[in-house]
């Protein structure tokens, strides 16, 4: 009997968890279920486990149980108070060597990408970047199901499924928002395994001198509920002011397609798509975006999509719940008016209900 371990790196900075960690715990639970029968037939145990590194992060381990972890390996030490590649990858590689996970998922955030390549190389194993589908599947000649890691290649025109046949852990990175956030179960608990950190400050060849806050640049596009995004059809940078007005009215943020960013109309922080951010807001309004594949892969999982374009054949209409053929400079101002009216109506109803 052996234990098949499905691992997720629980990413945190300054005690704040990156939600991609919970998204991946949801994925890991599904993967674990997919090998449940096979494992039971062989008398194996299947577990979902988190790996957490930081300083005074116990509260995060407790939260990880609610999102699906059965156990959390926690390396809690002042030396790990801030993320530094050398310290973190050494600590994590050591834990992985000891417990030999079968699968190891890491968020493809700035931090996660920095870390994942270093861990995979330390462990001399395979890592597939930016996966959009993950599944445990049968592979001819393999004794057990393997991780089938699918990622878009060449601008999203092709999906490649990668396997890592002979080495473990089978590693994959996944961008935030590619998978949904699981619903936490407040009743769930688990076991914390404290892992000693045997590193000395003198062994770590880097120091963070300061962090200059991103300030206004940090718009949190990935986790916005509403995104009003503009494309080349805006015709120039001024168009984003109009989009911002609508976004403000809706309590959302402004997004953009790549050509607008490349043209310097708006900063990269706003870019949605394969080389920008993957988003899944409740409402996505695409104005003057033709809908290149690279853009669509970054937003097609939004709950509700309204697209506005003058070209009735624009590919963005393929993913829209409602496509409006028309001039965005007429449609968006009308949207602002109607949203104001709807909000006023809703507030009036709430007042009435309260009275």
């Amino acid at each position: 009997m052996s234990t098949r371990r499905f691992w997720v790196y629980i990413e945190q900075e300054e005690g704040v968890v990156h939600p991609v960690s919970w998204e991946l715990l949801g994925v890991a639970r599904k993967l674990a279920e997919q090998v449940r029968d096979e494992a039971e037939a062989n008398g194996d145990e299947v577990v979902v486990e988190g790996v957490l590194v930081g300083c005074t992060v116990r509260h995060i381990a407790e939260e990880a149980f609610k999102y699906g972890a059965d156990r959390v390996y926690m390396a809690d030490s002042p030396i790990c108070a801030v993320y530094r590649n050398t310290a973190y990858h050494k600590v994590i590689a050591q834990i992985a060597k000891q417990y030999e996970p079968e699968v190891f998922l890491i968020g493809a955030t700035t931090l996660g990408r920095d870390l994942a390549g270093a861990i995979a190389t330390s462990l001399r194993t395979g890592l597939t970047a930016d996966c959009t589908q993950l599944e445990m599947g049968e592979v001819k000649g393999a004794k057990r199901k393997l991780l089938l890691a699918t990622r878009p290649a060449f601008g999203g025109n092709i999906l490649g499924t990668i396997i890592c046949r002979k080495r473990t852990p089978q590693m994959a990175s996944v961008r935030p928002r590619v998978f949904p956030l699981p619903t936490p179960d407040p009743e769930r608990t688990g076991e914390i395994v404290e892992v000693p950190v045997e590193l000395d400050e003198s062994e770590i060849p880097m120091r963070i001198l300061e962090v200059i806050s991103a300030g206004g640049e940090n718009i949190n596009l990935e986790y916005a509920d509403v995104i009003v995004a503009g494309g080349r059809g805006l015709g120039g940078p001024e168009g984003f002011k109009l989009l911002e007005e609508l976004a403000n009215e809706l309590g959302g943020v402004v997004g953009a397609s790549r050509p607008c960013v490349d043209a310097g109309w708006i900063s990269y922080a706003h870019q949605v798509g394969q080389t920008g951010k993957t988003v899944r807001p409740k409402l996505y309004i695409a104005a003057g975006i033709s809908g290149a594949l690279q853009h669509k892969v970054g937003m097609q999982d939004s709950d509700f999509i309204i697209a506005i374009n003058t070209d009735p054949k624009a590919p963005i209409f393929d993913v829209a719940d409602v496509g409006i053929v028309g001039d965005l400079y007429k449609v968006i101002p009308e949207m602002i008016e109607q949203i104001k009216a709807r909000k006023a109506q809703m507030e009036a109803q709430q007042k009435e209900a309260a009275a």
Binding site: R113, K166, L283
Partner: protein
């Protein structure tokens, strides 16, 4: 004297790509090729600091013989030497095998002329994995700083550098011991215009080509397909989404079209969930 090594990769111009239906691999023949743009900026940064500190920039690349043009391009941009690691036995390498080959080549360069800093692009535009830079650093057991936007200082005497890197929370200012590996964003340096002597030199420049026969030693279990734990299992095309509903505002009028779209969103509970109601 400052010695920088820059790793460069030739990539297909992404607007023009074909896949071999048999192997699922990229077909490089007949596709216009360029130096990976992030590598070009990494190289520009290395050259800039060579000019400030005095010293030398060495370029290394792994790939087929056609990559020689990319090394020549690097010389045109101010690199002093270039080496191409090229052998059929390296073909089919994933990021793990690639990081092994580059690390072996860099160790060899370092033995003959100690290296202070390694410059990589933050990722290559054909794979976007961003794994090779950190991988090489781990193999060489040196620190890595990714997504570097600016080098503030390189202190050769104190063997340390101060660099800025871009993260989600802002700009981190990091002091790192040398030798170190950095992966570069485009902001790190502008691509300079080549001075005429470099241009002329590049036209005649023939880089040394290193194969599995030497001078660098390679473990044949760690290169090419054999050294690559990941393989392509299958290739496919993404499923087509169900076509959405399209209405024409020019026919039905702007006001009605917008109302129609918003009513449909409301029917699905979108506004209630956005404005604090129950989802």
């Amino acid at each position: 004297m400052f010695h920088a090594v820059v790793a460069v990769k030739q990539v297909p111009d992404t607007t023009n790509i074909r896949i071999d239906p048999e192997t699922g691999n990229l077909v490089r023949e007949g596709v216009p090729a360029i130096m990976n743009p992030y590598d070009a900026h990494a190289l520009a940064a290395a050259v800039e600091w060579k000019k400030k500190l005095g010293g030398k920039v060495t370029v290394v690349s792994m790939g087929p013989p056609s990559f020689i043009v990319t090394i020549r391009e690097a010389v045109e941009m101010g690199a002093d030497e270039g080496y191409l690691v090229s052998d059929r036995k390296f073909a089919g390498a994933d990021t793990l095998a690639t990081s092994y080959v580059l690390a072996q080549a860099i160790k060899y360069i370092d033995e003959h002329d100690p290296v202070d800093m390694l410059f990589f692009g933050k990722q290559a535009i054909d794979g976007d994995t961003a794994q090779v830079g950190p991988g090489v650093a781990v193999r060489l057991d040196i620190p890595v700083v990714t997504y570097v936007t600016h080098i503030r200082e390189i202190d050769l005497e104190g063997q340390k550098a101060i660099v800025e890197r871009k993260t989600e929370r802002g700009i981190e200012v990091i002091e790192v011991q040398l030798p170190a590996l950095i992966t570069c964003e485009k902001e790190i340096a502008e691509i300079p215009f080549a001075p005429l002597p470099d241009l002329i030199r590049s036209l005649r420049y023939d880089p040394e080509v290193w194969t599995t026969q030497g001078p660098v030693e390679f473990d044949k279990m760690q290169i090419g397909v054999r050294g690559s734990p990941t393989i392509v299992f299958k290739m496919g095309t993404p499923p087509l989404p169900e076509p959405g509903e399209v209405i024409d505002a020019r026919e039905m009028g702007i006001e009605k079209a917008v109302k129609y779209a918003f009513d449909k969103a409301e029917a699905e509970g979108i506004f209630a969930s956005i404005w604090g109601g129950e989802a």
